[in-house]
Amino acid sequence: MSNATQELKTDQLFINLGPQHPSTHGVLRIGLTIEGEVIVKAIPDIGYLHRGTEKLAEVRNYHHCVVLTDRWDYVSAMPNNLVFCLAAEKLMGVKTTPRADALRVIMCEMNRVASHLLFFGTYGIDLGAYTPFLYAFREREMVLDLFEMICGARLTYNYIRLGGVMVDAGPDWLKRTTEFVEYFKPRLDEYDTLLTYNPIFMARTKEVGIVTAAEAVDWALSGPNLRGSGVDHDVRKSDPYSGYENYDFDVPLGKTGSCWDRYFCRVQEMRQSIRIIEQAIAKLPEGPFMASGVAKIPKPAPGEAYAHVEGSRGDLGIYLASDGGISPYRMHVHAPSFINLAMLQEKLVGMKVSDVIALLGSIDIVLGEVDR
């Protein structure tokens, strides 16, 4: 027959990735149109987890709003608490105490370690390496235990409050944190041998999802996604808050902007976080952990404030406007996951189906923050 000589014809095929799929890390749906193995069109569909926290904040007082912030990026909630408190404190003109600042820094960096460990573990799973997940979660569990010890919650902490923090860190907690830091340092080398320089892992990520520096700035990426492309932008350095200017740490940068570079930025960031935690514990100032003068029901004078922090996923910002009432008149969240995800619709076109997960995983989104 002449079938063998006839050219094989492929039709376009529409497939749904998600919304319920382990590799989408939540409820993200991507409508993929594929031709053979190659993606010709990708439509990310979000909003499955939209709870309208910006609207809810408009009928709650400022202390209540801190609880809402926990629910955005639920695997790294400390920076969420912090950024809202910073914005509200700017509005109210409250100055925090040195001890509260140091405790905030410790908590945020511990949370960054926990969040990056989650990324490290799940990214391995996404690409078929199951073992690193078990190692990463062993250490992440220790961080969560420390959080549970100090504030009673493992994910939604509500620990950072307006004017300071919820409770002081006692000597026992600090001792255990120091023990964890000492335990954790050699583990990072272990991770490198497990996954970072694994030839199969590198082959699947080194040449995939390359985002140039100009593109990254155009898409307004932030956090490790931006730094993976070699752009030196870190809020902790460019716009320091909570005394980050007093700590000695480096900002790891990637070279080509591939998935591996973004991954490697996060792995290196964990080392820097550990450095910051060590310094912060070593020179933890004495004194009160909560500033005086924060009203039970704050009524800031009319005005506007913007605060942003380097969260685990990027530049997390809050714009707050007050009309002088007991609740924020308008709250806007500059959510890094949401903005980082927007590049997916363009970046996926032309990629192979098997690489979708590699790119999506390397952006490291949390759908609670994408949808808010």
């Binding site: 939209h50 910006e54 898409w219 307004a220 506007e304 913007y306 609740s327 949401f338 927007a342």
Partner: protein, 188 residues
């Protein structure tokens, strides 16, 4: 660059652009005179090292939130006696200038200079329509969709201005202050 230096540069090129009456604390906030200025101003900022459009959003200045349909039960805590602690009601604050205005906010950031400019543009509240910045900044794409979805601002020239966060059956734009919730199948 300090805020004053940036503003001096801006006013040399755009004399009509003035400092906003309400400044975002610690940052330079400027106000555009007309919506026709938006694209030239954004283009000029992009050419002058402000290469990142960080935020697109808006504020509805109509007044406090319309609570209609907002709260199902005044006292939802079963452990409290009836009427013990009602949910906070949004009330108008005396002396604050509420006005039927949609106040757009754009935040531009310069990676090189580590400087940030907040740009505001006031438009009448009904049928707001401004030019889209998607031809200049890719990051405007989803953020303009979000602003359209939640606040009802139309961006002319946006390639795909459709809902992004709220479900298909939501009628209206939830962050508008007069938005009244209509009961749907998820309410009971």
């Amino acid at each position: 660059m300090t805020n004053d230096e940036i503003f001096a540069k801006i006013s040399a090129k755009f004399p009509k652009v003035e400092k906003a009456a309400v400044q975002v604390k610690d940052y330079l906030t400027v106000r555009l005179a007309a919506k026709a200025d938006l694209v030239p101003f954004a283009q000029w900022l992009k050419d002058n090292a402000f290469d990142m459009l960080e935020t697109v959003t808006a504020t509805d200045h109509l007044g406090p939130v319309d609570m209609k349909g907002y709260i199902r039960q005044q006292n939802f805590n079963p452990f409290l006696p009836d009427g013990a602690t009602p949910q906070i009601e949004a009330v108008a604050v005396a002396g604050y200038a509420y006005r039927p205005v949609m106040d757009l906010l754009y935040v531009f950031y310069s990676v090189k200079d580590r400087a940030r400019v907040f740009v505001r543009l006031e438009q009448p509240r009904e049928n707001v329509s401004v030019a889209s910045l998607t031809p200049l900044f890719k990051s405007a794409d989803w953020q303009e969709r979000e602003t359209f979805d939640l606040l009802g601002v139309r961006f002319e020239g946006h390639p795909n201005l459709i809902k992004i966060l709220t479900p298909d059956f939501t009628v209206g734009h939830p962050l508008r202050k007069d938005y009244a919730h209509i009961k749907d199948r998820f309410d009971e």
